[in-house]
Symmetry: C2
Subunit: 198 residues, 2 copies
């Protein structure tokens, strides 16, 4: 379904197609779902968008989602260990593992010259301000092990190390439950290089 010649429907399809990973056909399916649903459902949806946009803020300290100035994690945990991640959803992923008890810093992006994202475009300056307070003992670089994530991690490491702070990178190797024969060469090389004595 492309142009329906019904202005409001085409406009809604267009709005849906702005969402990440949504093409014209999927957007049209979503728009069709809305117009064939009940009036209450459509109103609830529209209200949820406005309400979330109005009330969801970002923690002034770490950049995570928050409903106040500071997020719940920053309120409770100190600045001793800071785990640096790309997006708020990465915080949630690590929190779900229930194994880390330090604070976070959300970069809201990774350095990517091809997409014109420079270090100044992500929240690196804010991280350095936190570190300058002198309460931090370790910075864990937990960006993804892809090109942009690695480059960002290396860049931040070069900024943090002069402070004499321990800088670590999350381990890379075979994921739990996967089979060795299906691992790619880079992963296998790293898994062997970073082998641990048992």
């Amino acid at each position: 379904m492309d142009e329906t010649n019904i202005k409001s429907l085409d406009r809604l399809t267009n709005e849906f197609s702005r969402l990440p990973g949504v093409g014209k056909k999927t957007a049209a399916r979503y728009a069709y779902f809305i117009v064939t649903g009940s009036k209450e459902q459509a109103e609830g949806f529209a209200d949820a968008i406005l309400e979330a946009k109005k009330s969801v803020r970002f923690c002034k300290n770490c950049g995570n989602f928050s409903d106040g100035d500071l997020c719940n994690i920053c309120k409770k945990r100190g600045e001793k260990t800071i785990c640096v991640v790309k997006e708020p959803k990465d915080v949630l992923a690590i929190e779900k593992a229930h194994s880390y008890t330090g604070s976070y810093h959300v970069l809201h992006g990774t350095i990517n010259p091809l997409a014109n994202i420079a270090p100044k475009d992500i929240k690196i300056a804010e991280l350095m301000q936190r570190i300058a307070k002198g309460q931090t003992e370790e910075v864990i670089l937990a960006t993804s092990p892809d090109v942009e994530g690695e480059a960002t991690a290396m860049y931040i490491a070069s900024l943090v190390k002069p402070y004499g702070i321990k800088v670590t990178r999350i381990a890379q190797g075979l994921a739990a439950g996967t089979q060795l024969e299906f691992a790619d060469e880079v992963t296998l090389t790293r898994a062997i290089a970073d082998r641990k004595e048992v």
Copy 2:
């Protein structure tokens, strides 16, 4: 990202996850896109939902999307040939091919006993009312060649035939540009059975 403990964000994620084919993770990604976007974008999105729900109606004659009582197709084309389809987007698909110049009838579903969709739940009665007017010479059954589409086509054929009207089914065979070796058995069987002299 599952629960963020930020009520309005979880609510928006929940709304997005109602859309067809959208799971929790995708819904969270959409919600993240909304809250990280501009206020104007969020307001435009919410307004597009309300506006579409308010102004998009269905043509009283054929059931296609419309912004008035009658859709643009019904206003211009007669009742001589009626092409029966499942959903409004099927009308758009056929219109894009620019080869059919008759009218349509949108069923808004197909008969599906497993999902409790009986003939009375789709717009078959409305089709029969149109046919009863006596202006129709041919009914083209253009539901998809799947189990529900075939059953619906056969059911409608049995209702229309007593009126002495020509009833046709869209052709089935190999799709243009596909390779014979990858065609399934049913398609190949039909393609051979419905072979045409050249």
